[in-house]
Amino acid sequence: MKVTVKSWTGVATWRWVANDDNCGICRMPFDSCCPDCKLPGDDCPLVWGACSHCFHIHCIVKWLHSQPQQQCPMCRQDWKFNNK
């Protein structure tokens, strides 16, 4: 039997690969966005610290801006962005 594909529709799903399900700051799922955003995805990305803890970028930046010392909310180590 010979089949000719006349048309096809691709469907894909995506998710962030993080070591946790929820952001430790806003408690929203990583696959959803931070509470200040409307849509998940590249506009509300995740970011990792050198300590390996992960947050929505908007959440961790908001926290670091409110603090005199830049520490990870989870482990209190000095916060450094991990550019992996």
Partner: protein, 154 residues
């Protein structure tokens, strides 16, 4: 229902989980909290086998719209304020995570656990040495107090 602010969304999540799985001896007044998410009343029982066994305490949590970036204001209220070296007779608590050591990764549940553990490790029931002076001179809001955290033993 009106759209919830980021702080209300987080508080709503915390309220649900605290009502579903509260730590032992801790109960939140869910009706009151869900009517006004910025003011919670939490009931706490003294842990069996500690100096506070059989006692009942009431904690009040006040949240600003900056929560969880801003720590909650937590005080004991009601007519049974625990006699403890870090608890003033007006209900103010000297506990570093409530001010300098606050982190947005903490929660109402973790604050309750810290307070339960602070009470449970107490060896002798007594008020802080500067209680009467502090209570006369302090601001109503304990977060306005410049706390000195000098005793890590209880």
């Amino acid at each position: 229902m009106a759209a919830m602010s980021p702080s209300e969304r987080r508080l709503q999540k915390e309220l649900m989980s605290l009502m579903k799985e509260p730590p032992p001896g801790v109960t939140v007044d869910g009706d009151q909290a869900s009517q006004n998410l910025t003011l919670w009343t939490v009931h706490m029982e003294g842990v069996p086998g500690t100096l506070y066994e059989g006692e009942k305490f009431v904690l009040q949590f006040k949240f600003t719209n900056k929560y969880p970036f801003d720590s909650p204001e937590v005080t004991f209220i009601g007519n049974n304020i625990p006699i403890h070296p870090h608890v003033y007779s007006n209900g103010h608590i000297c506990l570093s995570i409530l001010t300098d050591d606050w982190s947005p990764a903490l929660s109402v549940q973790s604050v309750c656990l810290s307070i339960v553990s602070m009470l449970s490790s107490c060896k002798e029931k007594k008020r802080p040495p500067d209680n009467s002076f502090y209570v006369k001179t302090c601001n109503k809001n304990p977060k306005k107090t410049k706390w000195w955290y000098h005793d890590d033993s209880v």
